[in-house]
């Protein structure tokens, strides 16, 4: 009874927040909605005996990644009004159809034959030592190789981002040495250099 109630609440919050991510007009709102979605998802995970993962999600993801998002959002210039993409009604209609079809197909396929394993708290996992230790043992023994690869990905992300932004910086920052851009010089029009002011 209680799990069902909790599940309902969190799932509704999760879905609402997800919709909020997609449909909110301001990107910052979207980010905040995403935080909410992550949070409620974390709660649902905890319901599924994944307490540690839930915590990691909130701490690492909400705490670090989402902050990064917000940080970037702040760097972007949102003074300009958000241009509204012209999504023609025709397009919306088609998208609607596709989405509806997707939903229907998933529903038909997944729920027509899916065996329903009931989840009453903790029953399925009683036989196991369900702990962070277990997780760690598995991760550093069996999945050590994958762990290294994950490390490689992070290293790569670091190198890539630094590389990209560094060179980009060199070009655009005022501290970079001045360069002569002949193409720009040629492209100069008289309006750029000369302003005629009519005295009345």
């Amino acid at each position: 009874m209680l799990p069902t109630l909790v599940f309902s609440i969190f799932s509704i919050v999760l879905l609402m927040a997800a919709l909020g991510v997609v449909f909110s007009r301001q990107a910052v709102h979207a980010a905040l909605n995403l935080v909410l979605a992550f949070f409620s998802a974390a709660c649902m995970w905890i319901m599924l005996d994944a307490e540690f993962l839930g915590l990691v999600l909130v701490l690492v993801y909400v705490g670090a990644v989402m902050v990064l998002f917000l940080f970037v959002l702040m760097m972007l210039d949102f003074a300009k009004p958000v241009e509204v993409e012209v999504n023609t009604p025709n397009y919306r209609f088609r998208v609607g159809i596709v989405i509806a079809a997707f939903m229907a197909e998933m529903g038909i396929l997944l729920y027509s034959k899916m065996s329903s394993v009931s989840i009453s708290s903790g029953d399925a996992l009683t036989g196991m030592q369900w702990s962070v230790q277990q997780l760690a043992l598995r991760l550093f023994n069996h999945y050590a190789y994958a762990f290294e690869v994950a490390g490689a990905i992070l290293l790569f992300a670091m190198v890539a981002v630094i590389g990209l932004v560094k060179y980009s910086d060199q070009e655009n920052s005022p501290k970079a040495p001045k360069r002569q851009n002949i193409a720009d010089q040629v492209r100069v029009k008289k309006e750029d250099r000369l302003t005629l002011v009519k005295s009345s």
């Binding site: 396929l109 999945y143 994958a146 490689a152 590389g163 990209l164 980009s168 060199q170």
Partner: protein, 526 residues
């Protein structure tokens, strides 16, 4: 220590990468970076060779420690060699470009490519969905960065497009993986395939979603849109990497799925791959005709060629062979175009007017390549198509041939159109357009060397495709024995087709297989 030998190539690569990152950070010497990275790839290749020679001992060690994450066998090692060689070519190509165009800030580009190699290397060896996913992501992200590497607006836009769409596709693939996990309770290929009574619908959806993700990465229609835009804006070395390294990784992954029995010739996923492949051949070529830009033509050619590779995957024969020849062709075209046009983005058909008359040798080479793309004999492209058709029609209905033939014809048209422009007389008014032709780097030694290696490989695979073929067969595992193997399968065996008096019009294999899973939920796996 002997544990490390099992993962020697990847470990070596990753270790050197860490070292290279430090080099790049602290030593501002491109020369060291270049030779270090070439040495890295050579070391990687050496370690793969080492593993090949000691495969039996290594398997014994590997079984104890890394069993479920990756496999060591001829297939994975072969694909790794393949990826290594290709990377070497890409690096030589990239570095020759750096020489030619000094402002290019691609010092770390080499590192990115090596990360890509690492991703591909992980993918082709993986026998675990998570490993595959990690490899795939590493590879995709490396490509994203490579695409963006020119740092012009066009490249950034293309990188963003590719990044977002690729993440979407990865998401779809990952959802598929999660469903397979949900259906079987295993993330290892073999274990998940061995589950006798999985939740069948969920399992199938998972497979389909994986196919969709792969389709995006390979650029099968209708997941192909990114390719055209990316090819239209990316640097040439990126294009080469996109059409070689990334394809090797994905195809290695697919081959592994087939080898481990997750997919087999008669599951629904195979039917989808066939349909998508044929769509790619048809629509890729049809759209290729529409293009005026050589870069986009190359893009659609890639789409169409991936269609043929899809057929090769399904019948489990010669995908590496086809891929190798496709890569050779692409390399030749890219390097010649680059040598003449540099980084220009809008290389139109009009611009190569009279190209072969001015540069007869490059023109002849380009002509050869075009005919090879088109699959006309006597070119390696013919053997590639031949091999695919041979495997495919041994198992599937010849009625598919109608679509494939139409697609091939349409493709031939636009390849031949390029040849047409190559040999067109240049009018006086066209000289202005042709001024875009500036000899960029044809004199560069490394460029010349890599091009001549490629040309030798092309000619060699024309005259004696034997070696390449047997290599491909070894890698593909079950190789050309598909017929015998298929004969063991209960339904939709080729004999069902062959023994019928007439070939019915209704694509028999497709329908039979579709009904099949209900009767026999899982294909038998040894």
């Amino acid at each position: 220590m002997s544990d490390l030998l099992v993962v020697l190539p990847d470990a070596l690569l990753f270790g050197s990468l860490c070292f290279l990152v430090l080099v790049a950070a602290f030593l501002n010497s491109r020369c060291i970076l270049r030779w270090a990275s070439i040495a890295t790839v050579l070391g990687y290749l050496w370690s793969v060779t080492y593993q090949t020679h000691h495969i039996s001992e290594l398997i014994a060690i590997g079984d104890a420690h890394f069993k479920s994450l990756f496999v060591l066998d001829a297939s994975s090692l072969g694909m790794k060699t393949f990826a290594g060689i290709v990377t070497l070519l890409v690096i030589i190509f990239l570095e020759s470009i750096v020489f030619a165009s000094a402002p290019e800030k691609a010092k770390e580009g080499v590192i990115i490519v090596l990360f890509g190699l690492l991703g591909a290397s992980i993918m082709v060896g993986a026998s675990h969905y998570l490993m595959s996913y990690l490899g795939l992501e590493l590879l995709s992200l490396a490509l994203v960065v490579l695409i963006a590497w020119g740092l012009e607006t066009e490249q950034l836009e293309a990188a963003i497009k590719y990044f977002i769409l690729s993440s979407l596709a990865s998401g779809i693939l990952l959802f598929g993986v999660s469903l397979i996990y949900g259906a079987t309770g295993h993330l290892n290929f073999v274990s998940s395939a061995l589950v006798r009574y999985p939740l069948y619908n969920m399992y199938t959806i998972g497979q389909i979603l994986i196919v969709a993700g792969v389709a995006f990465k390979l650029g099968w229609v209708p997941f192909h849109f990114w390719i055209s835009d990316v090819y239209a804006s990316a640097r040439w070395y990126t294009i080469v990497a996109l059409s070689s390294l990334s394809k090797i990784g994905i195809i290695g992954f697919m081959m592994r799925l087939y080898d481990t029995g997750v997919f087999s010739s008669n599951v629904i996923a195979s039917q989808f791959i066939i349909v998508l492949s044929i769509l790619s051949i048809l629509i890729g070529n049809i759209l290729g005709v529409q293009q005026k830009s050589l870069r986009r033509i190359l893009a659609y050619s890639s789409i169409a060629n991936m269609g043929y590779i899809g057929l090769a995957l399904v019948c489990r024969t010669g995908a590496p062979f086809y891929l190798a020849i496709y890569i050779l062709n692409t390399l030749v075209m890219a390097s010649i175009l680059f040598s003449r046009f540099g980084h220009a983005l809008d290389i139109n058909l009009e611009d190569i007017k009279g190209f072969a008359l001015k540069h007869p040798y490059q023109g002849a080479l380009l002509t050869f390549t075009m005919f090879s793309f088109a699959g006309l004999p006597i070119t390696p492209g013919f053997w590639a198509k031949w091999h695919v058709f041979k495997g495919f029609f041994a198992q599937y209905s010849p009625w598919f041939a109608i679509f494939i033939i139409i697609g091939t014809l349409v493709g031939t048209f636009y390849y031949v159109r390029i040849v047409k422009y190559l040999y067109e007389d240049v009018d006086a008014k066209d000289t202005e357009i042709n001024s875009k032709i500036t000899p960029a780097i044809s004199s560069s030694f490394s460029y010349g060397m890599s091009l001549s290696i490629v040309v030798i490989a092309l000619l060699w695979s024309t005259v004696a495709p034997d070696a390449l073929l047997s290599w491909s067969e070894r890698i593909t595992g079950k190789g050309t024995a598909t017929l015998e193997e298929a004969a063991r399968l209960p339904v939709a065996s080729p004999h069902a087709v062959f023994t019928t008096k007439a070939i019915p019009l209704k694509v028999p294999t497709l329908q039979k297989s579709l009904n099949n899973p209900l009767v026999n939920p899982m294909p038998p796996v040894q």
